[in-house]
């Protein structure tokens, strides 16, 4: 029971992170293509200025939760994905610094450089996150002692000894990039006005179609790479509602966008990401990290879970703390709701 609860609590943290940091990653990618004037750019960046740092906290809080609830998984996955994680850290550093620096430097050349770094780092992060999730879904070559170490690439084929990047994880990486860019476009449509918002809205329909195509492709690929992903669904057929939800939320994005209801369109995109991630989690549950080296080496809930007292105590403070946290987050988003107003956004 505790295992079930904590599995889904960690999943909630991951969904929270992807939904929230997802839009500012998408904004990071898009601002390279979408903005035309310096004012556009400042408006775009001001729309994420007060929130991006808070959004990143979901990653840290999620990582911490994973650490104490499933120490074996944390230890095994973090050391096994050593190289890509370090690259993710460097990208997070570059991204945060370039965004912050931009507000303090007014030399055009440097600003252009920082904008480029910010956009590239945002895009690379989306790619890495997609690949990371795909690595978990595909499985890793776990040794008997529960550890593994993956190179960045081997022969680009999923198999017993794959690399971080193979054709399957690359498909998921591209999907993540496109889906988060779409998410960012909807945020820009929501938070800005005039020509900029119009340009963002115009992107939505083609991107929705692209996301739909890539989603279908990744679904087929997942089933090919790890057929067991469907077991839970056939066992509880009601849960096929998840893929239906994926498609329905994509349709809603397009619908609300055309009706000029940007908030609803954005929320539909949140739902899309939620369904995708929840569906992926359900596909592996109760395994946490499948082994390509034989199912007996899978890291399962039962193997990785912390001691009972740790989890019971954790549930109390976690529930209390996250209630508070959701309170602050809501408060901040309420305070900064509405279109970005550059005059009051400077600091």
């Amino acid at each position: 029971m505790m295992g079930f609860i904590w599995f889904w609590l960690v999943a909630v943290m991951i969904v929270g992170y992807v939904v929230l940091d997802g839009f500012d990653l998408g904004v990071g990618v898009l601002h390279l293509f979408l903005v035309q004037t310096e004012e556009d750019r400042r408006t775009t960046l001001a729309s994420i200025g007060p929130v991006w740092d808070g959004n990143e906290v979901w990653l840290l809080a999620g990582g911490g939760t994973l650490y104490f609830a499933f120490p074996l998984l944390y230890a095994s996955a973090f050391s096994g994905f050593y190289l890509p994680l370090m690259i993710v850290l460097w990208l997070l550093i570059l991204r945060g610094i370039s965004l912050e620096l931009r507000n303090h430097i007014d030399v055009g050349v440097w600003r252009a450089l920082l904008d480029g770094v910010f956009g590239l780092a945002s895009g690379m992060l989306a790619i890495f996150y997609g690949a990371a999730l795909a690595n978990v879904l595909r499985g890793v070559p776990l040794q008997a002692d529960g550890y593994f170490f993956l190179p960045l690439w081997t022969n680009w084929r999923p198999g017993v000894h794959p690399g971080i990047l193979d054709w399957y994880t690359v498909i998921c990486a591209v999907l993540a990039l496109v889906a988060l860019t779409l998410h960012g476009a909807l945020w820009i449509a929501l938070k800005t006005s005039g020509d900029l918002a119009k340009r963002a809205r115009r992107l939505v329909t083609p991107m929705c179609l692209l996301v739909l195509a890539l989603t279908s492709l990744s679904l087929v690929a997942t089933i090919l790479v790890r057929p067991a992903s469907l077991d839970n669904y056939f066992h509880y057929p009601l849960t096929f509602v998840v893929p239906v939800g994926v498609v329905a939320s994509l349709i809603c994005i397009r619908l609300f966008n055309r009706r000029l209801q940007p908030l609803r369109a954005f929320l539909s995109s949140c739902l899309y990401l939620f369904f995708m991630l929840a569906g992926a989690c359900w596909g592996v549950y109760p395994t946490l990290l499948p082994a390509t080296t034989g199912a007996d080496r899978d890291i399962t809930l039962a193997k990785a879970i912390s001691g009972p007292h740790t989890l019971a105590v954790g549930l109390v403070w976690w529930g209390f703390g996250m209630t508070l946290a959701v309170g602050y987050v809501t408060f901040v988003y309420m305070k900064f709701r509405g279109k970005v107003d550059l005059a009051s956004a400077d600091h």
Partner: protein, 445 residues
């Protein structure tokens, strides 16, 4: 180079660089609340502008702290997997609490404090500053709790699979080692904040401009600096030292360079510990002082390294000795300088005492060195243990991550952090040159 050494250097380098930022964050957060409180009480716009100026510096510093802090949480898993696997149920707990309880709080209210002044009432803006302070100090608490459990494990049990499990949540949080280190460490952060603020004040006065702001900075910086420089020695440093002496005899003997057990032990003020001969080269000694400092009497016996098996000696003994002596030496300098500055401030003569202003200006890097040396003392003193008495450092690193892969990313971090250090210096220098006066843009708005 062995994998163990690389993983130790990896963590040591990234954490040392990281902690340059939070110490200022935590110290300044308190001082900004002071500035905002005076502004709220007197309605004096100057104090508000002073708070806004330090808020900008705080903001830059905070971002550098955040981005260099994210790797720390990852490195427990990436570089110290075997340690994390066994201890995650215990120390994962305070680390997750830091995220849940303080990072959300801090980031939410920092956004409001930096971007929301025009959307908030004066009281609410003060409250945002206060919550940023509360969040950052809470964050420090959880980190110290984590470290305290590694230094002085309490309230744990071992499951059949070898994992550690928390027995009492409150005992874990209220570990006496943690409480003592917390007050000592936070006082150290206030010293950094005060010295930086006083140094900027001294810089403006020596330059002969922005004197009204310089006076504010000096006043707040010197008063806070004087108080914290007293508190860092007595009672916090004194108590922490005595607690270490009782619980980690090997650490205190190595810190003090005490190779041989002695009744009425001497304190070495300066010298170079020689591990081969078991003597201090070029010693400068105060007789019986060490016994007095630890036990309150000049006669008491202090255990030397000779009573400790050699395989339990701190592995980097001379470095530990120097780190400790640098911390104590600089602490003494802080007290002297701040006492003189506070006296002059009280007499109204500080602004005209150029030598003291110069000393204040040039001393701003020293608290960074002292805080770093203090952490090195604590962590090198814990060696060869990762969890004191329970798990050796050699049993904790990720053995699937080879020395070569570790070195690859260590070099990556070194390059990136060199760039970050450079950018940070340029940014802060710009802010200090621009000063607290409203810019043209602000006047127009």
């Amino acid at each position: 180079m062995t994998a163990e050494l690389i993983h130790r250097l990896h963590f040591a380098f990234t954490i040392t660089f990281h902690y340059l930022f939070p110490q200022l964050t935590m110290g300044l957060a308190l001082l900004i609340v002071v500035l905002k409180s005076v502004a709220l009480k007197t309605g004096d716009e100057k104090w508000d502008r002073a708070a806004r100026f330090w808020g900008r510096i705080f903001g830059i510093n905070f971002v550098f702290g955040v981005v260099t802090g994210i790797p720390m949480e990852f490195e427990f898993g990436t570089n110290w997997a075997r340690f994390s696997r066994l201890s995650g149920g215990v120390i994962g707990q305070p680390l997750a609490m830091e995220g849940v309880f303080s990072f959300f709080l801090e980031s939410a209210f920092l956004g409001l404090f930096l971007y929301g002044e025009k959307r908030l009432s004066k009281l609410m803006h003060w409250f945002s500053a206060f919550m940023v302070f509360a969040g950052s100090w809470l964050s420090g608490f959880f980190i110290i709790v984590t470290d305290a459990w590694m230094q002085h494990p309490v309230a744990y049990d071992r499951l059949p699979n070898g994992q550690f499990e928390v027995l009492s949540f409150w005992q874990l949080l209220l570990n006496p080692w943690g409480l003592l280190q917390y007050v000592h460490n936070m006082t150290g952060a206030v010293i950094t904040g005060s010295f930086v603020m006083a140094a900027v004040g001294a810089f403006y006065l020596l330059e002969g401009r922005r004197e009204e702001y310089a006076r504010i900075f000096l006043k707040v910086g010197v008063i806070a600096g004087c108080l914290s420089s007293i508190l860092i020695i007595f009672p916090t440093g004194d108590l922490a030292g005595k607690y270490v002496a009782r619980n980690q005899p090997a650490a205190i003997a190595a810190m003090e360079g005490l190779f041989h057990t002695q009744d009425g032990a001497d304190m070495v003020v300066m010298g170079q510990p020689n591990e081969e001969t078991g003597l201090i080269d070029n010693p400068l000694v105060v007789n019986n002082a060490l016994s007095f400092l630890i036990y309150g009497t000049t006669k008491a016996q202090v255990k030397g390294l000779d009573q400790i098996p050699h395989d339990q000696w701190p592995t980097a003994l001379p470095l530990l000795f120097y780190a400790y002596h640098i911390m104590v030496g600089l602490g003494t300098w802080f007290l002297l300088l701040m006492a003189v500055a506070a006296f002059l401030l009280w007499r109204g003569a500080l602004q005209r005492s150029r030598p003291v202003l110069w000393a204040l200006l040039l001393s701003f890097p020293l608290p960074y060195i002292a805080n770093t040396a203090g952490w090195m003392t604590a962590e090198l003193g814990r060696q060869p243990w990762l969890i004191y008495g329970l798990m050796r450092t050699s049993e904790g690193y990720s053995n699937t991550v080879s020395a070569s892969n570790g070195l690859f990313t260590l070099i990556g971090f070194m390059g990136l952090y060199a760039l970050l250090g450079l950018l940070f210096t340029v940014l802060i220098y710009r802010e200090i040159s621009c000063g607290p006066e409203p810019t043209k843009k602000e006047v127009r708005a």
